[in-house]
């Protein structure tokens, strides 16, 4: 076990090094110039050259690369060109909306998907099963931005139940900010529930015909107990995997949804940083996201140990 964990941690370090180098190269390959964007339309080429020098963007790329690696090694993600703040501080400021959005979305997605998936499997071939599969297919096919715009128009602008966009005024309390998160969470919850429904249904179908389920029924257990206590427990591994990956996807920034609802989370941050060519922020966010992916995958593997005694490392 300890050997396995050590091997995984070493693998994570190698993956992160590859990610760091790739991110650095990709960001530098993209055309565009933060100095030119900052100075605005009336700036002359000479103004741009002068500002690039003041920002240190005229340094050779190799120097910038080693400086970047050196900073990362000390836990420093650099300084944002546009915000003039440490990147860690910029990312920390965006964590709240993204974390809230992720948690609420995942809760909504699981709350929809798990009962529907189980019931679909249990009533395989029924009208409910067909209907839920078609609905899941539809939800998976609907672009989140479209659903977001529709909800915005009818539930926010029309009915006035929710704010249209943003994350609250400067004086907003935590619960008022939560209010801003609900509508985008519903959108993401619906869209992401589709995959979980299909996985839950498939996983449950696999186990519902297993011998141990038949044995449980033969022992006279109630259907509820058979399905939930025995079948569901065995079907959890693929469900946990897909929920974990959905979580990783959401925490890395639901880019389109954050943009539509103007949520100042990690997704909006990375889009804004790309448009502004704020290299340190792009690098910092991508490194954090990659790190989260690697970590969540590791945690999912560890979770298998807890939920399935057959799994041994």
């Amino acid at each position: 076990m300890a050997r396995y964990v050590a091997k995984r941690v070493l693998g994570m370090i190698v993956v992160m090094f590859i990610v760091l180098t790739t991110v650095f190269i990709i960001v530098r390959l993209a055309p565009g110039d933060p100095a030119s964007l900052m100075l605005g339309p009336e700036a002359t080429p000479a103004d741009v050259v002068a500002l690039r020098a003041r920002m240190g963007l005229d340094q050779p790329v190799v120097v910038q690369y080693f400086s970047f690696l050196g900073q990362i090694a000390t836990g420093n993600l650099g300084q944002s060109i546009f915000f003039n703040q440490p990147v860690t501080q910029v990312i920390a400021a965006r964590a709240e909306p993204t974390v809230l959005l992720t948690l609420f979305s995942i809760v909504i997605a699981v709350a929809i998907a798990l009962p529907v998936g189980i019931l679909s499997a249990y009533t395989r071939g029924s009208l409910f099963d067909q209907g839920s599969l078609s609905t899941a297919m539809l939800a998976a096919s609907v672009p989140s931005f479209w659903l977001g715009l529709i909800f915005q128009q009818y539930l926010a602008t029309g009915a006035g139940w929710f704010p249209v966009s943003g994350f609250g005024s400067p004086s907003a309390t935590f619960f008022e900010r939560v209010h801003f998160i609900i509508l985008p969470s519903i959108v993401l919850g619906i869209v992401n529930s589709a995959l979980i429904i299909r996985f839950s249904r498939a996983a449950m179908l696999d186990v519902l015909n297993d011998d141990f389920v038949r044995t449980a029924r033969a022992k006279g257990m109630s259907e509820w107990r058979v399905v939930i206590r025995h079948a569901l427990k065995s079907a959890l591994i693929p469900i946990v995997t897909v929920v974990g990956l959905t979580f990783a996807l959401l925490i890395s920034g639901a880019i389109v949804t954050e943009r539509v609802f103007n949520l100042p989370g990690l997704g909006s941050l990375v889009v804004g940083a790309v448009l502004r060519r704020d290299y340190p922020v792009i690098q910092g966010v991508l490194v954090v996201i990659a790190g989260l992916y690697v970590l969540i995958n590791f945690l999912i593997d560890m979770l298998y140990l807890a939920i399935d005694p057959r799994v041994k490392y």
Partner: protein, 513 residues
């Protein structure tokens, strides 16, 4: 554990319910807070550093300049006590500074702060750098008087000092560290209270503000500080700005698509505000390298283009655009009709003849544009069709805005790039005519005319010279003014006191009950 988590979430949802209901019942803002949706996060809050309009809109509330403009774009004093005394040769400006003005950190503003600020402006601001070679010295003759000496007369100086864009903002000299501002502190009616990037910029009333007492006229005159707070909310997505405006979430929303006009008109929570003659779309030609260095080739493009069709594709309805050759609209003193016979020719035969005379060999004409401003792209598509009809091979290079701003600085990568500008108060505020701009319009006759225009202090003579310059623009075609367009904003119908300008300000905004 899971049950506890579910209960916590349910509790959060229940607690959020009253807020939801309150929002449904009353979406308008409090009377003393103005919420303004702007087109995105300003690239900087240093007013000197950027010529982006969004920077001016926000920073003009907490930074002030020596001079400003009234509603007729006439230069009027702001931090200066009065208009300067200018020597007959136009080379020395003696500027009296208002006494009793304090910065938002409580320190008193004097002539030494003004001198330090103007020197910083010369070093870091695009507009300051443009005039730095002309300025011989900036000194304080006493605590309340600044003297600017020029190497030669330069008539646009006061306009440059008055403009809130790449602004000659006055800051405490202690806050200047080399070529940087260490704090965002000015003398404006509001101070920067909190800035959460991409979320909001919160400005609160500056209690130590000393306003001018003249009646408000443009940005000149009394700044009443009516709202207690002004919150600028960056909303980069145009549709989200519209939805927020229609829902009454903002008191003012800037930069809206004209397609939303009818929807805004039907709303009872917001009303459309159409700023006619806001700006002009420009096809900028590369006179440094490539096809467009050939005058006949530029004239061929000019002959081929059909501005009415281009603007119709871009703005959809005649009420949102105008076709006019004049480089300034009618209400400006700079308006004239010189060269207008060369505008809107839409004559492919003439263009083809000019192309033949130019010896065009079929090299693709590269038009650099972007989807950042959809109307640029739409104009480019129509232009492409007309240019191809005349015999050009056209290559549209459609890139994102950041790439465009980089590529346009490399003359090898483009022949025409598409941009736009608001109508500025004075011709010298744009770099388009300058030989050192990225267009590179370096014609000896034009250079002399421009030098005369900037050094002449007699206004009537300047207007005559500008008319000649405009004629030269249409004859030599360094750029092509496609027409003019209106800007659409939205405003809370209960709010008044926000004049129509490309750079709206809110210190006199008030709400009716």
């Amino acid at each position: 554990m899971r049950i506890a988590a579910m209960f916590s979430l349910a509790a959060a949802a229940v607690t959020a319910l009253p807020a939801m209901q309150a929002y449904a019942q009353d979406a308008k803002k409090g009377d003393d807070v103005v919420t303004v949706a702007i087109i995105g996060e300003p690239p900087t809050l240093d007013p000197m550093l950027s010529t982006a309009d969004v920077v001016s809109i926000v920073t003009q509330h907490f930074f002030e300049t020596l001079y400003t403009f009234d509603s007729h774009w006439k230069v009027r004093p702001l931090l200066a006590k009065s208009m300067p005394k200018i020597t007959d040769d136009g080379r020395t400006y003696t500027i009296p500074i208002r006494e009793g003005v304090t910065f938002q950190d409580g320190s008193k503003m004097d002539a030494h702060d003004v001198v330090a600020s103007l020197k910083l402006w010369e070093k870091v601001a695009t507009r300051g750098q443009g005039v730095a070679d002309t300025i011989e010295s900036v000194t304080a003759s006493d605590d309340n008087t600044v003297v600017i000496k020029l190497k030669k007369a330069y008539a646009p100086l006061l306009s440059l000092l008055a403009f809130s864009n790449s602004a000659a903002a006055i800051v405490p000299q202690e806050d200047i560290d080399g070529e940087k501002l260490t704090k965002l502190i000015g003398t404006g009616p509001y101070k920067l209270a909190e800035h959460k990037p991409d979320q909001y910029i919160k400005l609160t009333r500056f209690d130590g503000y000393t306003s001018r007492t003249e009646p408000a006229d443009g940005t000149f005159g009394e700044r009443k500080q009516i709202p207690a707070e002004i919150d600028f909310v960056p909303v980069p997505d145009g549709n989200t700005r519209i939805e927020g405006a229609v829902a009454g979430q903002y008191d003012y929303a800037d930069g809206l698509s004209t397609e939303a006009y009818d929807r805004l008109e039907k709303s009872d929570k917001i009303k459309p505000v159409l700023l006619n003659n806001f700006g002009w779309p420009i096809f900028a030609f590369n006179l440094k390298a490539g096809l467009m260095t050939n005058l006949k080739m530029r004239q061929a493009v000019e002959a081929a283009l059909a501005p009415n069709d281009m603007l119709l594709a871009a703005f959809g309805d005649k009420k949102f655009f105008g076709t006019d050759a004049a480089l300034f609209p009618k209400k400006y003193v700079w308006h004239n009709e010189e060269g207008s016979d060369l505008y809107a020719q839409a004559d492919p035969q003439k263009a083809a003849k000019l192309l033949k005379e130019a010896g065009y060999d079929g090299t693709p004409l590269r038009i650099l544009t972007s989807h950042q401003y959809e109307f640029h792209y739409q104009m480019a598509q129509v232009a492409k069709a007309y240019l191809e009809q005349a015999g050009f091979k056209v290559k549209l290079d459609v890139v994102d805005w950041a790439t465009l701003t980089e590529r346009r600085d490399n003359p090898k990568l483009w022949d025409i790039y598409i941009t736009h500008s608001p109508f500025l108060p004075e011709p010298a505020l744009t770099s388009l005519y300058s030989a050192s701009s990225r267009l590179g319009w370096d014609d000896p006759e034009k250079n002399k005319l421009l030098a005369d225009f900037t050094s002449t202090t007699d206004q009537k003579k300047r207007e005559e010279l500008f008319a000649k310059l405009q004629k030269m623009v249409w004859q030599q075609v360094p750029f092509y003014k496609v027409g003019s367009f209106s800007a659409l904003s939205a405003e809370n119908p209960k709010m008044s006191g926000v004049p129509q300008t490309p750079w709206p300000f809110f210190w006199n905004a008030q709400f009716s009950q």
